[in-house]
């Protein structure tokens, strides 16, 4: 069950114009740097990107925005990218902003075979417009929930810390974030990892994403792992 491919170029070679992608990461933490670079190089157009954030101007998904490869973003927070905000306000970029938990859960729903899930997030706000809602009893009181559909993405592109040739993935610290739910939710899931090991080297008790969800895996190169807000304290 060897799912290894040579590199990012090979991993993304069948991603065509108009594809719907899930892209893992939170801010710049745990983003699939190699695959984003390969997509920029390939020049794939009219992408729909499901990603919590839109990167910054010169890193992450920001690189794809700069080259105008993105038709639509589905995100929860895009405050760090001024170019994004400009394209959005000018109408060049289609944007769907949805609550972060809804975003994560719609990814996971695809991986759990839930056609839809219920969440109270967004009830009574513009997020609820046009959506089916329903009352359920919660802690003895009626509470309103929105029905939100599982995402239907062609590809999920995620970044893990370690992976094995079977596609089993282990994440590090808060870089797990959207990578796991998206890895589960893609029709085709591509994983780039900092360290690729032979099957059998990872402890089966410590796998975060079982290999059954992963279709292609490769060891990435030259990770920059840029820090967005370097906050420190004095010794």
């Amino acid at each position: 069950m060897n799912k290894t491919v040579a590199n990012a170029e090979e991993a993304i070679k069948d991603i065509a114009d108009n594809a719907v992608l899930m892209l893992g990461g939170f801010g710049l933490c745990g983003i699939p740097e190699n695959c984003i670079a390969a997509l920029v190089k390939k020049g794939t157009k009219n992408l729909t990107c499901i990603s919590n954030n839109a990167g910054v101007e010169n890193f992450g998904i920001g690189l794809l925005l700069k080259t105008r490869q993105v038709k639509k973003m589905i995100s929860s927070y895009v405050g760090e990218n001024a170019e994004f905000e400009r394209q959005l306000l000018s109408g060049e970029l289609e944007v769907e902003l949805i609550p972060q938990g809804t975003l994560a859960t719609r990814c996971m729903a695809a991986g759990y075979g839930f056609p839809a899930i219920f969440t109270p997030a967004g009830v009574g706000t513009e997020v609820a417009i046009g959506k089916e809602s329903r009352m359920f009893m919660v802690d003895g009181a009626e509470k309103e929930f929105l029905m939100e559909y599982a995402f239907d993405a062609d590809f999920a592109i995620v970044k893990a810390w370690k992976g094995d040739t079977h596609g089993n993935l282990v994440y590090k610290d808060t870089a797990r974030n959207f990578n796991h739910p998206m890895a589960m939710g893609g029709k085709i899931t591509i994983a780039e990892v900092e360290e690729l090991v032979p099957a059998g080297e990872l402890d089966p008790n410590h796998i975060h994403t079982p290999g059954i969800y992963v279709h292609r895996i490769f060891q990435g190169v030259n990770y920059e792992k840029r820090i967005e807000q370097r906050t420190v304290r004095k010794r």
Partner: protein, 218 residues
Amino acid sequence: MLDKIGIAKRIAKEIQDGFYVNLGIGIPTLVANYIPKGMNVVLQSENGLLGMGPFPFEGEENADLINAGKQTITTVDGSAFFDSAASFGMIRARKVHLTILGAMEVSENGDIANWKIPGKMVKGMGGAMDLVASAKNIIVAMQHVNKEGESKLLTKCELPLTGVRCVKKIVTELAVLDVTPQGFRLLERAPGVSVEQIKNATQGRLIIEGEIPEMVID
């Protein structure tokens, strides 16, 4: 009148032993610095961490370890990492006892607006809509009035809503207020602030009953 640190200090007094707490960006983040020593409190960061610690020492920043504000952080003993779907699962399941976040506007029935100014600012709601829709207890840290001197405690929010009927308590530079079915109930005045000042700064229905004590902040 309180500064940001004063607001953070006053909110810290609302935290109880054994609480799991989610802190939003801005003033709420400062609250962590004023949780009484010895109190058992675990901070949840919705990007996937229970047990958030202080900023790292210089040179020890870890790009894989950030909070929901994208700041480099550390962990404390007993921490646990998880994915974003699991994180909002525990939020929806109301395992987080208290959410503290900022707001642009709050209305007298507890509606909150903090994510969008149509035509001007579109950063997105992030996790705020999920948090306010689910948290058992929500405290808002905010300025009582905007730069133009207009009240942000309103009869009805004018900006697009983040959540409805969810805010329980508000701490501003002027006052502490509960949100009740009858409107904003004034609980405490900031040091040196008069009830009259608070009245003038509050557009929504304000309930003032009896003597309003001045806040005690250490």
